[in-house]
Symmetry: C2
Subunit: 311 residues, 2 copies
């Protein structure tokens, strides 16, 4: 069947009936590639309007869709596309949604009607939320909070973990002394109140990065149980994983890569954790790892294994 | 040809010769799906060892690869895979690298030799850098710094922009009063030094988020030119885009959605920008937009168009 060009619709938003075919659920705001006509472009399901009961035809409220469910959704494409309603033209009115990561067809659908700009309530209604950002990255945002003495291997382990997670396709960010003390916290000293504020700001940034969908790794001594509890409260219990790098003081002091322990023993660094200032070891850390018992790689293996249940 | 199982290699890292076929360049750390034998898993090019001159066979130093170049690389997979060297077994020793976003075949390659754990220098050498994180997301990290009077439409415009960018497949984060004043900056008041520190911390967080690969949108009045220049210095010139929402004071006051202008006029809010405290309008903003002249959607269209050259 030939269709006159003038009958086609040019718009970047439309309402559609979709059949959701993916094992994972559909959440609002999720981003896809949409294949419609000959075009393949970015699009997002901005709003699930209602689900249709396939037995009764009833309209049911829904904010997410599970496999084999049918629903009416508003879809926004990244640019204007030419299409038609399915009723008028089967070819130009049907589409598929392709998962950007797995490249599998997640849904097929037919266009019900276009959403003109003037009736564009979809965009107004839906903000880009934490859930949408995490959904885009296909991961659960987590803050992996490494704590342990200077020289315990926190940074090396966090670094190694970040590489492993990155190779596995995760989106990550590492916060450590290098990028925090010289930047965000450069106006803080080492007095008790500064140390509390130091940890508080790091936790706030970790939370913001979780909001952005990222898996955050932090590598700071964070010696005080109260500060770590505060960090857990800020980040939120379900996203916070405390990893205690429990390498014994003797081993840390033996390594003394930066010569800090020696200086501390000579009294040249006041308030040095483990020497002249206490380290309050976590009593209920989510993961405990002693890096003196195996190689960095083996330690990373163990932590990665223990992390699985949080991912 | 049949191969005895005992001859195959089980490892997660190997050195390979690859032919790069993608229009975009290959950078170290880039993440792919590798198809080797019957397996399809996550992997990253951890190190480009050298490029091979196809005419002379010479080994050339290279940190990135362009289309049709041949190079020797170290590749790390997310889990152990069974394979063989190409020399011994053509089928089990060849692979392709598939782009995670476009799902196109970016490279084909043959395994030279396995990298045993003990000789694993690859991981140690390469940290996950800003470039790698941005490469993973397939975008240039940017900080879109919106500035303008209260009620000028900064937040609405930043919100709208974030939706558009998200639908277009970008990874974004919006920093605004809601998530900053209640969190990171809750210990700051509205005195001049607090205002400076407020903007400084936001810029530092934006920089960290750029390090994570994200496109960051910030929506704060940021009335002082000096603070904005400081933010630009922190974020870095090449990643900073200042967007001046130039809606005139009369229009902002007319809207007065939160009733703030009225309170300020009554003297109930001291130091209110535009009434009892100055707004230093940007003289050289990268993008200027007056939201009183067109709808939110049209404004967003204009900004998005102007943004193209920065992306």
């Amino acid at each position: 069947m030939l269709v006159k060009d003038t009958e086609l619709i040019v718009s970047s938003m439309f309402t559609a009936v979709i059949l959701w075919m993916d094992d994972s659920e559909l959440t609002q705001g999720k981003n896809f590639l949409v294949k419609i006509g000959t075009k393949l472009i970015s699009a997002a399901v901005m709003d699930i309007k209602y689900r249709i009961d396939i037995h009764t035809g009833e309209h049911l409220a829904a904010t997410r869709l599970y496999k084999n469910e049918i629903a009416v959704c508003d879809i926004a494409a990244a640019e204007e596309i030419v299409y038609d309603t399915f009723q008028k033209h089967k070819g130009a009115g049907s589409f598929i949604l392709i998962d950007r990561v797995t490249n599998m067809t997640s849904a097929c659908g037919v266009v019900e009607h276009s959403l003109r700009r003037s009736e564009n309530i979809v965009w107004q209604k839906l903000d880009i939320t934490r859930e949408i950002r995490a959904g885009r990255m296909g991961q659960k945002p987590l803050t992996l909070w490494f704590t342990g003495l200077s020289g315990s291997g926190k940074s090396a382990l966090a670094n190694e973990l970040e590489k492993r997670l990155s190779v596995a396709g995760r989106y990550t960010m590492l916060l450590d002394g290098d990028n925090i003390r010289m930047g965000l916290n450069k106006n803080l000293g080492f007095e008790p109140e500064d140390r509390i504020e130091n940890i508080r700001r790091i936790a706030e940034v970790a939370r913001l990065m979780n909001d952005a969908g990222l898996i955050v790794l932090t590598a700071f001594i964070s010696p005080f149980a109260g500060d770590r509890q505060n960090a857990r409260n800020i980040v939120g219990e379900t996203n916070f994983v405390e990893i205690y790098v429990s390498t014994p003081l003797e081993e840390c002091e033996r390594r003394d890569a930066k010569g800090l322990y020696q200086k501390a023993r000579e009294g040249r660094i006041p308030n040095f954790t483990g020497i002249s200032s206490p380290y309050e070891a976590p009593k209920n850390a989510d993961i405990v790892i002693d890096t003196s018992r195996q190689s960095l790689e083996e330690s990373a293996d163990l932590v990665l294994q223990a992390l699985e249940k949080y991912m």
